[in-house]
């Protein structure tokens, strides 16, 4: 799947986009976060506080416990601040 990062998540992780195939046991964004956090470094810093993380699956806002399904694109970002 394609994983996108925005705002301070992108800065802490050091890239805005990557392609990653998570283990089959990963079925929700929250589980994917736990998996990515294990990489340590910028990932551990970016995902340190799950309360500040929002996500979109297939460009639709979803809760962190939503099913990933066959999502081709998932994005992680802080709460939005436009306007």
């Amino acid at each position: 799947m394609r994983i996108l990062y925005f705002a301070w998540l992108r800065e802490k992780i050091g890239q805005g986009e990557e392609v990653f195939t998570p283990p089959a046991s990963v079925t929700t964004p929250r589980q994917l976060i736990a998996c990515l956090r294990q990489r340590g470094g910028g990932y551990a810093a970016a995902f340190a506080n799950e309360a500040l993380i929002r996500c979109a699956i297939g460009q639709e806002f979803q809760p962190l416990d939503a099913p990933l399904g066959a999502a081709g694109e998932i994005a992680f970002f802080p709460p939005v601040t436009g306007g």
């Binding site: 925005f6 705002a7 979109a56 994005a75 939005v80 601040t81 436009g82 306007g83």
Partner: protein, 148 residues
């Protein structure tokens, strides 16, 4: 008539409002502008980032919701991205209708919803070179939910 745009460049508010006024009884608008200060410090610029693709879809959906709820003859949302300095335009929301109540309410609804449901992020850049990401405000969340 619906117009949605996400762009680095400025918009011509007068031209956008003139386009909406055709076949309307009234036009309501909101323009968001970069403030000159943040948290008591002079601001050098705002940097606006977005999620290309998702942003446009989210704005289209907001416009659809406003059109379903109020009797609008037109709806325009233009949001800028990139580095913007104090006094520069950030966003234009404008709607037109036969009677004022629809356009006024729809415009307020759209800017309230845009702040909490379109994937934009702002970073504040200060004169001393430091920068930080703006945190979401609970008051924005409250304003958006009040329309539900």
């Amino acid at each position: 008539m619906r117009k949605i745009a996400v762009q680095p460049g400025d918009f011509d508010a007068n031209a956008e409002l003139a386009a909406l006024s055709a076949n309307a009884g009234g036009v309501a608008s909101f323009i968001g502008v970069v403030r000159g200060d943040a948290g008591g410090r002079a601001l050098a610029a705002l940097r606006l980032e977005h999620y290309p693709g998702m942003t446009e879809k989210a704005l289209e959906r907001l416009a659809e919701a406003a059109e379903a709820r109020w009797a609008l003859s037109g709806c325009t949302i233009i949001h800028r991205i990139g580095r913007l300095t104090p006094g520069q335009n950030i966003v234009l929301v404008a709607t037109s209708s036969r009677h004022r109540a629809d356009a006024l309410a729809a415009t307020a609804y759209l800017i309230d919803q845009l702040k909490t449901s379109a994937p934009f992020w702002k970073a504040e850049e200060f004169a001393d070179g430091t920068a930080h990401w703006v945190e979401a405000r609970e008051s924005d969340e409250t304003a958006a939910k009040a329309w539900l």
